[in-house]
Structures are given as structure tokens and as C-alpha cells.
Symmetry: C2
Subunit: 261 residues, 2 copies
């Protein structure tokens, strides 16, 4: 089931403010996976879509590392390894951090929690969603000549279509190919942006800077098909766990749902 | 040649703040056209693309009506009619306004001026343009089922492709069909948004509210073809006159070029 928890990390006495927090968090996560099982780390690293997203909040002194998982089998072993390794401290970049708390519920941290896949699929139907893009969000798209390009705009087909493709990749109850072929154009062409407030920002995901957008966008479905409203509700339930766009394993594309309607 | 002038309009003693300035300005403009020639007003009204955009700045007391023209034959007769009718005052909504000044140069008003078509076509090549969308901007697009939808996002294919289609519609030196077919995909797929700061806003264009975006966007051409850089320079030179998106004759989609590079 989609699960998100936040590690409250306290730096050691001489720790500096981390220079590349996203890259360090990414490295730490794969280190933890390798501690569960070296094969698992390699398998996930090689996967086309990885079943996690990371987010790093650098506060004064402390550091919040949010881990969102889409694979049911990862949560327990990962938590076990985190708690075990936390005895020596977790390494981020050059520094070691103590795991002060593991926050796994919305009471502990507003972006922690879990939803069963059944809950995602039974989410209340929605005609619209108002999303907040918490970290820079950008879509990797292919040009006709095959070269990669990046789109830092919340086009409905990219945002909503991207969420659907996460649902398809990880839900044990995916839509059929025929249903997807039917639904994708409806998300792209019949859902419109009806409100926005955006600014671009640069994010270092690993060794490269990416320009994405942060801010808010409201999407609204213009028609009345029950299937589309049901899907939009499901996508809203999933969005905080899977994020949107490229480089979500480095903390880009972190999304909150401000409201559905 | 593309021409823009600003009428500095002073209200009469009892004039209220105009309730629907865009609609009133639109009505006034067609009234002036009809005074030149009733046939001309009808012809332009029926045209698929009209050769003008309007902008209204409502200040305290005064009102600035910016008229941008893309048709060389309109400027002189329009100015003659404005000056003639200003003796009785120009009607906007329920109120009459005195034409205090006609500002036709950048020295008089930063958004007034003109460029010959030869100057537009000889504009310095550019690899990028940074545009400011002064008034809400939205694109009318067609859904596959033929119904109209509105896109309030500065997608390169919509912004740059729209400017090219204005150039094609009004320039006496348009590109050939083959050139356009070659250039359009390069604008859409090879020019990326590299910076943005946007917020949506609602604009009453006539009797209907439209949601568009205001703010700034930087577009950058990723490759190096001289034809594309030449075209981008031309589009930058034309943009302040033709605006972008739908309902420019009501004042939507007013654009300034902050810089080219």
C-alpha cells in the first residue's frame, strides 16, 4: 500500500549544512536498500519506474527525510534497516545523522501516512483537483527527433496522465489496456487548468540542475463521465505518494492535494 | 506596418469608473471603424483574424486605450476619425470621454510605437525571448471531439506558433507554406520554457469571463538553426503589436518583450 514516513534526522556535532541534500538522500536510500538485500538495490535501481519518491526538508539543524513507497513489500524491511543502522547513525554526504524520530502518521507529520490500494481505488469521485507542487516539477518528454526535452508546465496530459501511469505501474488493481486507452485522452483533452500560481525554480537532482515549477494548479474536468470522476478521485488519493514528473526519487515533483471537488 | 498608439481619455464630470472597460473599448473601436466606412467595420468584424488588438488601462480618473494595428491602411483613417469625433467626445459604455492626447511614440508612452514590416523581418536573430504577459492570456484550442477548450498555459507551440501565425496573416512578406511546415514543429518541440512566474486571473472579454495567465515566461531554443533564430527575433519584434492567444481584440494576451538573447 502507498506509505509515507518521515525520518527526523539530527546531525552530529560537527555536521555542516548538507550541500547536495537530494543527492545524499538518494544515496542513503540505495544504501539502505542494499542493506536489506544487495540484489534488491540493483533491481530497483535498474527499474524503469522506481517504487519510491524522496523528499528532503533542510531545517535549522535537523533534517526531515520523507520516504514514500508504492511497493507493499518495502516498508517493513526498510524500517527495520533504518532502526538498526540508526544505532551508528545514517550517513548523508560526509556527515552522520541520528534518527531522532520516525514519523509515520499524519498526526506525527502532515505528509506522513498510508492508504491501502483499496482505499485509493475507492476514493471519492472528483470533478476537480487543486494541487500544490511543493518542489520543482518538470516532465521529461521526447522530441520527435528522439532527443529528450523538459517541460516545466502543468499540462493536464502530463500531470494527470503521469499520475495514471503511476497507478498503472504499482496498483495491484490496474485498469485494463482498453480502459487506459479510453481514459488517457479524456484526461489530456477534457481536463483543463482553471487556476494557477507558479514560479520556476532550479533543483539539483543528483549532479544536474533541472528547472521545474512550484506552486498551485487547479484542474477541472469539463464533462460528466462517472469513469473520469472516479479516476480523478483515485489520482488525488495517490498523488502525495507517487509525486509527479521526472526525478521524484531525488525529491522533485512532490505534490500535495489542497482539495478535491 | 505594425503600429500602436494610446489614447489618453479624460472622463466627463459625472463619469463613473467603467464597469466593463474591455467591452466598451471593443464597441468604441467598431464604432470608429464604422465611421471610417460601414463596410469596413462589417468586413473586419467578420474576419477570422482581426488586424488589431486593444488594451485598456483604467487609472484614477483617466483611461488609457491602446490600439495596436497590423493593417497598414487603418492607421491614418482611424486617427482622422478619432480626432474628428473627439470634438463631441468618445463614448465608452454610458459615458463620454475627451481625447486629451494621442500618444504614438515610445517617448509618449512605453507601449506606443511602430515598426515597419521590413524592420520586423530584419530583427536581430534570437535564441531566446523573455516575455511578460501583461493581461490574462489564454489559448482557444479544439478538442478531438470538436468542442472548444481553453488552455491557460504558455506552451511554446501555442505562444510561438501563435505569433508565427499572426506574422503569416498580416505580413506582406510571409513565409511559404513549406517553410511554415518546417518551422512550426521546431517552435513547438525545440523551444522550451526555461523560466516562468505566472498566476491566473479572470478577464471579462465581452460578456464572458475567461481565465488566463499573467506574468513572465522565458523561452529558449535548444538548437542552432539560423532560420529558427531569425524567426524568433521576428516574433519578438511583432509580439507587442499582435499579442498572444484568444480575445486580443478585447485586451487579453497583451505582451511585452523584456529581453531577447
Amino acid at each position: 500500500m502507498p506509505t509515507a514516513f518521515v525520518l527526523d534526522l539530527q546531525p552530529g556535532a560537527h555536521a555542516a549544512r548538507p550541500q547536495f541534500p537530494a543527492q545524499y538522500a538518494h544515496g542513503l536510500f540505495y544504501h539502505l536498500l542494499a542493506a536489506i538485500d544487495p540484489g534488491l538495490s540493483a533491481t530497483i535501481h535498474a527499474a524503469k519506474r522506481v517504487p519510491f519518491t524522496l523528499g528532503v526538508e533542510v531545517g535549522r539543524g535537523a533534517l526531515g527525510l520523507r520516504v514514500a513507497l508504492l511497493d507493499d513489500d518495502l516498508f517493513q524491511p526498510l524500517l527495520r534497516v533504518v532502526l538498526h543502522q540508526s544505532l551508528d547513525g545514517l550517513t548523508l554526504g560526509q556527515d552522520r545523522y541520528r534518527v531522532a524520530r520516525v514519523l509515520a502518521t499524519p498526526e506525527g507529520h502532515p505528509r506522513a501516512g498510508r492508504a491501502t490500494w483499496a482505499e485509493v481505488h475507492a476514493a471519492p469521485p472528483a470533478r476537480g483537483l487543486h494541487l500544490r507542487f511543493l518542489t520543482p516539477t518538470v516532465f521529461a518528454t521526447s522530441r520527435p527527433d528522439g532527443r529528450r526535452s523538459y517541460t516545466p508546465l502543468p499540462e493536464p496530459r502530463l500531470v494527470l496522465g503521469g499520475l495514471l501511469s503511476s497507478l498503472q505501474a504499482f496498483s495491484p488493481l490496474p485498469y485494463s489496456t482498453a480502459e487506459v486507452e479510453y481514459l488517457v485522452p479524456l484526461l489530456g483533452d477534457h481536463c483543463a487548468v482553471t487556476r494557477l500560481q507558479l514560479r520556476s525554480d532550479t533543483y539539483w537532482a543528483g549532479r544536474h540542475p533541472y528547472t521545474g515549477f512550484c506552486g498551485e494548479t487547479e484542474f477541472r474536468y469539463a464533462d460528466d463521465l462517472a469513469e473520469v470522476r472516479r479516476l480523478l478521485g483515485q489520482l488525488a488519493a495517490l498523488a502525495p505518494y507517487c509525486g509527479v514528473g521526472t526525478k521524484t526519487p531525488y525529491g522533485m515533483g512532490q505534490v500535495d492535494v489542497l482539495r478535491t471537488f
